[in-house]
Symmetry: none
Subunit: 222 residues, 4 copies
Amino acid sequence: MNDVAETKPLSKSAMRRQRERELRYQTILSAAESLFAKEGYHNTSMERIADAAEVSVGAVYFYFKNKEDLLACLIDESGYCLRSVLGKAFLEATPDLEGFKKAGHAFFEDYCLNHSDKLAILFRESVGQSKIVEERRKNASERLIKDVRNALEKVCEGMNYEFKSNLASEIIAVSILGIYERVAYQYIFWQGNTDGLKAIGHDAVDFLIGGIKNLFREKECT
Amino acid sequence: MNDVAETKPLSKSAMRRQRERELRYQTILSAAESLFAKEGYHNTSMERIADAAEVSVGAVYFYFKNKEDLLACLIDESGYCLRSVLGKAFLEATPDLEGFKKAGHAFFEDYCLNHSDKLAILFRESVGQSKIVEERRKNASERLIKDVRNALEKVCEGMNYEFKSNLASEIIAVSILGIYERVAYQYIFWQGNTDGLKAIGHDAVDFLIGGIKNLFREKECT
Amino acid sequence: MNDVAETKPLSKSAMRRQRERELRYQTILSAAESLFAKEGYHNTSMERIADAAEVSVGAVYFYFKNKEDLLACLIDESGYCLRSVLGKAFLEATPDLEGFKKAGHAFFEDYCLNHSDKLAILFRESVGQSKIVEERRKNASERLIKDVRNALEKVCEGMNYEFKSNLASEIIAVSILGIYERVAYQYIFWQGNTDGLKAIGHDAVDFLIGGIKNLFREKECT
Amino acid sequence: MNDVAETKPLSKSAMRRQRERELRYQTILSAAESLFAKEGYHNTSMERIADAAEVSVGAVYFYFKNKEDLLACLIDESGYCLRSVLGKAFLEATPDLEGFKKAGHAFFEDYCLNHSDKLAILFRESVGQSKIVEERRKNASERLIKDVRNALEKVCEGMNYEFKSNLASEIIAVSILGIYERVAYQYIFWQGNTDGLKAIGHDAVDFLIGGIKNLFREKECT
DNA sequence: GATGAATGAGCGTTCATTCAT
DNA sequence: TATGAATGAACGCTCATTCAT
């Protein structure tokens, strides 16, 4: 695992194997993602995943410890993807609340629509499955919360605001994620209303912006 | 068949049987609720439920069609209980946003703490289990949304406000529930932070009040 | 159980009870017959039978020892009914082979069509169920065989024939029943061809008449 | 996908696996056959079959869809075996009614005695079990009927006979099978009279030969 | 006599996981 | 590395039968 030592003498065939390994890994993960999202975690057997990935059951176990691990990896991936989508939106925005608007729209118009399997994994299929899975969801959630809090801090600084309470920034972050999750659940999973998502997202973003503002106050002079 | 005639002469033994039936029903339901919440839906076998309720497996199947039905009934109960808690808070409040504050605090300080098993059923154990269960959750959710929207309408009238958009009242309702759910999940299920829930709830309520306001505007004069 | 002693002092209410008892017994038996024939013995639960007979499960067990007993009684009834149908045909016929023709037609045109539930019980639902049931079927079969052999003996006498072998009369009887059973099974249960049954029966009867003749020979003079 | 190319290079280990697979399949099927025949279909649990075949329950389900499938396969096998036994007898006979005599004797003296488990499956254990099983029995029956009718046609041609009616050949076939079935049932399953089967078969064959003749007539000159 | 709630052994079936090849 | 047959514990569910009322 020493990168320097390993990097050089990698023969061509070894490199090809490496590439194939990663390809296989991703193929299996994708197959699982799609099946978990479409059929449900418990309705998807390991054999079914192997079939869909066009490998043997044994191969799935070569790349993943077990079924739970497969789900855990998908949670990580889905969480990472969501952070990317939101992060990109924040980066492109001015350091005021515009970032939160952009991020909100990115969630509803990009993540929900273009990564709906990941959405399903993160907010539906991985819920209440086991200690380990719940731990992974918690971690993914915490990373997201941290990102949002960082963005929040920047806004604070940029606008000379402070939080009304110690907890405020965390509560804001959790609340925003709650809104994302539930609005998506309601309109994507339950109503399949993908067309109206832009308008829905618009109001949801307005709501959360109002919420943020209400936990800010202008910084007192010292 | 004559209701009046039939109602009265219900013999004492028949009445006792009726009572016992309902008691048994509730005993089983409670056992299942507790086990589902504590061990997880999939980790709880029907035999385990029967044992906990001190009845035979067959008895469980006499009162409930199957395991799924047990969960569906628990969803209904949990949803109903939540509506009661929130409804009571609204009733005791003035017809302005105070109702939403009271309801929020009721959720965090009453429902989350005194009905944590129901919380777990509604927001964790019943997620992503099956078509039928999801349908039941959706229905429970819709009833809650309707309640919140009704409360919203009253505030509108009482304060001469109107919604910024057609969707606004629904989005508000969904968002509030999203905040409830996620904040509860974060601090109860993941952090087990029951002591701080009052403070947490306080900020969360502030957040959602800000959100609501941001989707209101003063009614234009005609 | 002494018939003479019991017969006289039967009070009116006792008689009514007796009648009701027999009515109930028959109602349950009919319900079971219909359900066994239509849904299959194993697909019919005791509860289902009780429902159909509009009595409680306990009542069924009051009149019948168990499910097996219900089937055994139905076998007896079905066998008795078949004997009646065939016996009547024999009685109305001349003491030559005409009786066998009439009996054959009676089987296909009366028993198969008017007592198809009994047919199903006797030839389908009771097959291979248990030692006891099989014993009952054997007994029913033996009574039928005896009847047929008696008819055969009469034809022998009347026409001055004798059997080619000791076994002949039994084999004839068994074979005739085999033809009845299988032809009925083929055209009723498998093809549902009730309309063509007359023509079918005609050929089947011709076949068995030929068979009988082939095991007869003219009695040698002594 | 090229059959010629693919057939050859089947590696030795692959071939051995193939052989083992088929062996296992047959072992399980045999175990089931024996148990179904001896204990009855409903009294035989899948676990019992697995034990008898010295494999795990899972292995049984690897080779067969379910218990019903096991029975269905056994029906096919039993039907095929019976066709072989009868077919061989017909082939060895002259193209007159001798074939039907030989086939009859083959049934009673070969099939009934050497394949009594198959006899039990075909005529006892598979009766009235389910839609699917009944369908399989019907198919097996139809193939047998077709064979017999073919043999009948040949006799017709060879002896310049014709059938008395359109239905005749089918009725003959069905009747013959009915005689086989019932005679076997009576003397094997009910009386366990294996010793007398030759004599019994002799008379039964005489009976059915008489039956056939009675549905033939000499072809009219044109 | 009649009821129907309660029992609980037993069954068919699934599927995550392993391991010899 | 890759295969896929084999495992077997575990589960949901059924239903004939009983028995207190």
